[in-house]
Amino acid sequence: MSDLKKIKDEFLSKLSGKLDISKINQIKSDLFGKSGLISTQFKKIGTIAVSERKKFASDLNIIKDELQDLINSKTNELESVEINKKLEKEKIDITLPERSFNRGKIHPVSQTIDEISSIFSEIGFSVEEGPDVENEYNNFTALNTPENHPARDMHDTFYLDEKKQRLLRTHTSPVQIRTMLKDKPPFKIIAPGRTYRSDSDQTHSPMFHQVEGLHIDKNINMGHLKGCLNYFIKEFFEVDKIKMRFRPSHFPFTEPSAEVDIGYEIKDGKIIIGEGKQWLEILGCGMVHPNVLRNVEVDPTKFQGYAFGIGIDRLAMLKYGINDLRAFFDCDYRWLNHFGFDPLDVPTNYRGLSR
């Protein structure tokens, strides 16, 4: 039996026994160390007769690889057993709570404003704004509501001076005036914002939100008004069909004027918008009064169009099932958490207004 075969058999049997990492290392050094058995054999190659040298070298290499592979696989085996043992010890109770996080929320009124802007954006309206403090002219007179007009009674106004020249705007309509004075027609804007009336009870808050709409061009008629609002309401409530009623009303700044009702019914204590036999008033609108256009130096014989005003808080209440208007401004942590929206829920046309 050659030396090589002896070495191989001896070590194969050694490696098949029960081993730990130190024993394997010992075997490794016995074989491949500086004066290890295999290393010694390699040194011998030069002394072997040329005729046998090739075969010897080849046999030696095969044995070397075989033993080395076996040692490696034994080592891996042992190491993975060790690691598994260690990991077993590290096991934790994964059901313990995570580190705390605070979730912020967007107020339903802000969310609703974004929804409204998104809808009107689609049909070409841009957003305008105006100041909360207005002068008497922009809030009333320019809007065809001169002093001593009984319509002023419908607006319980907060005043900032005794002469009643400065006030908190009672509606977003002064933004119409500001927009038209600033630019030239055509106009196609919406103006959401805060509005104020000194009225406070269960269903009225001294501050609330409105969105104004204004579309002035050469041939805009009541059909456009009706189409626009019907589109808006359908989109806003995310329904295919909506029962809608336009009925005559009066606002000094529009002529003809209309109020718009939508159909609804109460099902299982919840309000269903768009169908049913009940009517709910949701907005006022009309064709912009020629006197208003004259006041902002737009020629009413050349330009005409419509305007509307919608209560934002009311829309939010209807869409999201909120009963109490006063709660919007009461900052109850529980309420804000319950009705608020995740800041990542940005209403868009392609993702939809709401989830």
Partner: protein, 801 residues
């Protein structure tokens, strides 16, 4: 305006049903606000007499009344009204009756230990009027009716219409009937009212003073002598009660009836109480008179008064006075039918805070040509019911009514409404509404009826035509999905971005009122001017907010009181610097209370602190696109912040405009508002001070490049004077070699042992990387030395050895 279908039928011939009526009223712009049924239960309310009152044994303000409810029945009723006294005729509601106003069902109840069988009702509780002071007082005439039902047996519906202020003509039943008839809902009845033909002299002189601002332009009147005033006949009482009015006496009831019927307010004076004649004039400052509501009014100068030689008799078109009021023993009356200017009525009523049915009508504009109709109709009824002789009608006027004419181009109709109706149809509608119509080639020449002060131009005619034809005829024109201009401008985009950015950091968005409590506002007013509201809703909401903190702190406190401990609220909205339009700024204000982490198995308890809010502010601004490397921060803040733990942030070192404040709220404020929390920190970002970049973010970005060469980190510890800011060290290092120094991080700040007093140690880690090559030890040594030298030179720091 309350109407009944029955009364409407006096003016309208129709076969249609009440259900159709309600729909039609709304369709033509006379909105049905509510429909109330006078249910049969109302028969339970009985005319009764108090026969004895005693003080309640257990309550000073209550009385125990013995009430005669007819048929020899006496009930004990506990009553709190001051006017409850022996002999008073009033209205009694037995147990089981439902009070119209409150819809509550009465039961036998013990009130402070005394059993009360039913209730004595005020006019307000019965929906008869708004009078809620005391119980209803009935006249002696009712004595014979004790025990009988006060309300007549009726199941009629009260239809409450919301009449818009442009339609005074519809404050009379006839006006409503006319509109309905024009819309095809029946035919307007021709009343064929006959004139009074009298030869009797009108012996009372009436004069309208021609003076500046005279509020009365026409004063029509007639005298009716030898009348016998009494209770109204049943038909008249029923009529008034059917619309919720309380009958008083025949003469008053008749004037009211005419007012509701044809919208013609009248006033009846006891002619015997008028001294010599009537003078219509401006009031003098300080004049006083007692009005029919039993209140005494002190007048300012220039109010339109009806007077005689002894002074003011009444306020024209608003309210009469007690001195010349009619009573059951009135023998001779002067019946007034006048025209008062809306503006004059409004001014006077506003100054005196008076609201009456007549005022409501005159301020909207009464038909100036209805003066004689009113006199004819009322005088004839008075004669019928109360007897007497009617005089000739006398009309004094200082102005003549001019009819309004409008030339109407029929093409305008379609241009505005978007649909077509025939010329024939237009003419019919306008004629039915009372217009006189003449055709003139292409246009219609229209004479506006005198009862329509709201109509003055072509577009008003369009409205009439659309309204009567029906709004349902207007087509739906689908909007075109096309955008020519961006929806939001840069500022608005930034607003929405910042709003959601702050919310994403764990803040709940609040919306609070723009006004606030002065006491809270003062804490955060700093040097700003206080802006008062002249007529606030309450004294706690008396000023416009100078800072959003005033509201947020109030609501944080409320929520703490609700038992929450760790709270973060923010609001984005206006603060006010002055009372002129535009003197406002948009601010994002956040406020956090309590701890960042509390009682957790994994994290240590930690109060929320100034560096939490600093992170929120900086991160928000960075997310919005501002470069934090350019930020400059110092410690000058308004007095409502903790003077040592607060800062202000500029977007760049130029210190142009303050972008934000942040810090702990001053502990004194917490004490003053009695707030208990471990920590209260807040921030304010001033949107108007954030410069909007000209370029888009896309264009602002530098060319994308990065280095794959090896990074090195070097740590330094500097000892500096305490008043040296970390920011100065960081800036010095960054600027020492901008191409190699990629990042600077403070990892320790230490004061105390081993550090000289008034000094501190700041440990900084610097990341160094070249984009050209791998740096060798030599390069690193060089840059090390440069950093140390620069910092030492710029800040006086010493490297710690």
């Amino acid at each position: 305006m309350i109407i009944t279908f029955d009364w409407l039928k006096d003016h309208l011939k129709t076969n249609l049903k009440e259900k159709n009526l309600l729909e039609q009223l709304t369709n033509i712009g006379l909105e049905v606000e509510s429909v109330k049924s006078l249910s049969t239960d109302n028969e339970l309310f009985k005319i009764a007499e108090i026969i004895k009152t005693e003080k309640h044994p257990n309550a000073d303000r209550l009385k125990v009344c013995d009430v005669n409810i007819g048929n020899n029945e006496i009930k004990k009723v506990v009553c709190g009204a001051e006017n409850a006294k022996e002999g008073l005729l009033t209205i009694y509601a037995p147990p089981g009756a439902i009070i119209p106003k409150t819809k509550t069902k009465l039961e036998v109840a013990k009130i402070r230990g005394v059993t009360s069988y039913g209730m004595l009702c005020s006019e307000s509780e019965l929906d008869l009027s708004n009078e809620s002071d005391g119980i209803t007082e009935l006249s002696e005439e009712y004595k014979k009716n004790i025990g009988k039902s006060y309300f007549s047996k009726s199941k009629k519906k009260l239809i409450d219409l919301s009449i818009t202020p442009n339609r005074p003509d519809c404050l009379g039943i006839r006006g409503i009937a006319r509109d309905l008839a024009a819309s095809g809902f029946g035919k307007l009845v021709d009343l064929g009212e006959k004139k009074i033909h009298s030869k009797n002299r009108h012996s009372l002189k009436v004069k309208i003073n021609k003076e500046r601002g005279q509020g009365c332009t026409t004063f029509g009147s007639c005298l009716i002598t030898n009348v016998k005033n009494s209770e109204s006949p049943k038909w008249l009482k029923d009529k008034l009660m059917s619309i919720g009015q309380k009958p008083i006496s025949a003469i008053v009831d008749i004037t009211n009836y005419v007012m509701f019927d044809i919208n013609r307010p009248l006033h009846a004076y006891d002619a015997n109480k008028i001294e010599k004649g009537i003078i219509v004039r401006n009031s003098k400052s300080g004049e006083e008179f007692k009005a029919l509501d039993n209140k005494t009014y002190k007048l300012e100068s220039g109010m339109c008064v009806i007077s005689d030689n002894n002074g003011v008799l009444g306020l024209g078109g608003i309210i009469g006075g007690t001195r010349s009021g009619t009573e059951f023993n009135t023998k001779n009356i002067l019946l007034e039918s006048a025209y008062f200017e809306p503006e004059s009525i409004r001014n006077t009523a506003k100054k005196l805070n008076l609201d009456t049915d007549a005022k409501f009508r005159f301020e909207r504009g009464i038909d100036p040509l209805s003066i004689e109709d009113g006199l004819n109709k009322a005088a004839k009824l008075i004669k019928e019911i109360c007897g007497g002789e009617i005089s000739k009608i006398d009309i004094q006027k200082i102005e003549t009514y001019k009819t309004k004419k409008i030339k109407f181009d029929p093409n305008i109709f379609e241009k505005i409404s978007g649909f077509k109706i025939s010329l024939k149809e237009m003419i019919k509608i306008l004629k039915d509404l009372g217009f006189e119509v003449k055709k003139d080639k292409k246009r219609l020449e229209l004479t506006v009826p005198s009862w329509r002060p709201d109509i003055s131009q072509e577009v008003d005619i369009v409205e009439e035509l659309v309204r009567i034809s029906g709004y349902e005829k207007i087509k739906y024109i689908e909007p075109i999905k096309q955008r020519k201009k961006s929806t939001l401008n840069k500022y608005q985009k930034l607003f929405h971005f910042l709003q959601r950015s702050v919310a994403s950091k764990g803040y709940l968005e609040a919306i609070t009122w723009s006004f606030t409590d002065k006491r809270y506002n003062d804490h955060f007013r700093d040097t700003k001017k206080e802006i008062k509201i002249i007529n606030p809703i309450s004294s706690e909401l008396g000023v416009l907010r100078n800072s959003i903190f005033s509201n947020l702190i109030m609501y944080i406190k409320k929520n703490l009181d609700r038992g929450f401990k760790d709270l973060s609220l923010f609001e984005i909205g206006p603060i006010f610097n002055g009372s002129n339009p535009g003197e406002q700024n948009t601010v994002i204000c956040g406020l956090s209370a309590g701890k960042k982490s509390r009682l957790s198995w994994i994290e240590k308890d930690r109060n929320i602190d100034v560096f939490d809010v600093k992170r929120d502010v900086v991160q928000t601004l960075v997310e919005a696109g501002y470069d934090s490397k350019k930020f400059f921060i110092d410690s000058e803040t308004p007095n409502y912040y903790h003077p040592g733990k607060s800062g202000r942030l500029f977007l760049n070192n130029g210190k142009n405009q303050i972008a934000a404040y942040f810090g702990e709220i001053h502990p004194n404020i917490l004490k003053q508002v009695d707030m208990k929390t471990e920590s209260l920190v807040g921030f304010e970002i001033f949107m108007d001070n954030l410069k909007l970049p000209e370029k888009t973010l896309r264009d602002l970005k530098e060319k994308f490049s990065f280095s794959d060469y090896q990074k090195s980190e070097r740590d330094f510890a500097f000892i500096v004077n305490k008043d040296v800011n970390a920011q100065d060290l960081i800036d010095s290092i960054l600027r020492a070699d901008e191409s190699l120094i990629k990042n600077v991080k403070v990892f320790d700040v230490y004061e105390g042992d081993n550090i000289p007093e008034n000094q501190k140690s700041i440990a900084i880690s610097v990341t160094i990387q070249s984009s050209q090559r791998t740096l060798n030890e030599n390069d690193l040594e060089k840059i090390n030395n440069l950093i140390v030298k620069t910092v030492e030179n710029n800040t006086g720091a010493k490297i710690r050895s």
